[in-house]
């Protein structure tokens, strides 16, 4: 049974279902974001991509690379 987490990207907030025991890195794979290009906050704290997710978690994705 999957769990639901919230994702914040800029001003956009969305809900996504992930497999139980998924990590932030798994979530990045699922939504097609290269972990090398972002920083993440888990429930308002800067977190490594190996952190495991639980239902109701909020993951904020912050772009780490500049455009141009």
């Amino acid at each position: 049974m999957s769990i639901e987490v919230q994702i914040i990207r800029g001003k956009t907030l969305s809900l996504i279902e992930v497999e139980p025991d998924s990590t932030i890195a798994d979530l990045m794979e699922q939504i097609g974001v290269n972990r090398e290009t972002v920083l993440t906050r888990l429930n308002d704290e800067v977190a490594v991509e190996e952190e495991r997710l639980k239902g109701g978690d909020v993951v904020e994705i912050i772009m780490a690379i500049s455009g141009g």
Binding site: N34, E36, V48, E50, I62, A64, I65, S66, G67, G68
Partner: protein, 296 residues
């Protein structure tokens, strides 16, 4: 996940070394490595160092690190901002830059395309050439201003990713002259030598440093995108994801190759026959662009 050094909560997984680091140990590692690079660059007591400051994370981190070193070594800093005239973008980033220089009590001079070249980048840009125009004209303006201010060196915020992208782009384009110049920068009359204190730091680490130290750097994106650089950047980041540390491998390989390439270089530092600025060609690229624009 816990820090390998103190067991506090980890904020960074340095995948190329396999280590998890907490905030304190990440900042300690980052600043130690940048200080080492600053020492290697050879800034001396009494030097005047210019910094190209945009307000983005790279140049703001460069300023923060050079400011800290300037207190220990004893050199002077002056920041130079370039207002290219990009509506809805540059005003915000320069305001951020100005606020930070005010906090650190570092002089901040702003030069603009409009005042120097008679038109903004927005007015120049068409046919997707904005990044070419901007790169050439901004470099010239920075050099000119740094020279007029009597700077001994001009620091830029280039990070490891920027350096790797430059090497790869020149390889892919077959532009051997530029590839040689990357590792053997031109120097001489009228040209203020460049230094890149963040050149050993991956962009992700610079972004984390900026975030953890609340630098307040602007995260605005320039509306002009450079598609070939973006494609190269994405390609390198895909490789890095699968092979952590490959960005360092590219640079170490290039550094080994670079001395052997030097003898193949045809370029030497000349003076532009039109404007007198240092150039590797008889007429500099800035004058060529300005001539093209004057016909429009």
């Amino acid at each position: 996940m816990r820090c390998v050094k103190c067991k506090e909560k980890a904020v960074y997984h340095r995948r190329y070394s396999g280590q998890m680091l907490c905030k304190e140990h990440f900042l300690e590692y980052f600043e130690r490595k940048v200080r080492k690079n600053i020492r290697k660059i050879g800034i001396k007591r009494g030097d005047s160092i210019g910094i190209g400051l945009s307000g983005g994370k790279d140049s703001m981190s460069t300023l923060q690190m050079l400011w800290k070193s300037s207190k220990k070594i004893g050199f002077e800093l002056t920041c130079i901002g370039v207002d290219e005239g990009i509506d809805g973008y540059r005003e915000e980033t320069l305001a951020v830059a100005k606020a930070f220089t005010g906090e650190l009590d570092v002089p901040f001079e702003v030069v603009s395309f409009k005042e120097t070249y008679g038109r903004t980048l927005d007015e120049m840009a068409d046919n997707g050439n904005a990044c070419t125009y901007c790169g050439v004209l901004r470099r010239r303006l920075l050099n000119e201003k740094a020279r007029k201010l009597g700077m001994d060196k001009l620091a830029t915020g280039h990070n490891l990713d920027d350096e790797v992208q430059a090497v790869m782009m020149n390889y892919l384009r077959g532009d051997v002259e530029r590839l040689i110049r990357l590792g053997n920068p031109i120097s001489g009359d009228g040209f203020v030598g460049r230094i890149k204190p963040l050149s050993e730091m991956p962009e992700k680490e610079v972004a984390l440093y900026s975030l953890l130290t609340n630098l307040g750097s602007s995260s605005s994106e320039c509306p002009y995108s450079q598609s070939f650089r973006s494609t190269t950047r994405d390609f390198i980041n895909q490789l890095e994801k699968a092979n952590p540390g490959i960005k360092f491998s590219v640079m170490r390989g290039y550094e080994k190759l670079s001395p052997h390439l030097k003898s193949y270089s045809r370029s030497e530092l000349l003076k532009c026959s039109n404007c007198g600025e240092p150039s590797s060609q008889e007429v500099c690229n800035a004058c060529k662009i300005l001539k093209t624009l004057s016909k429009k």
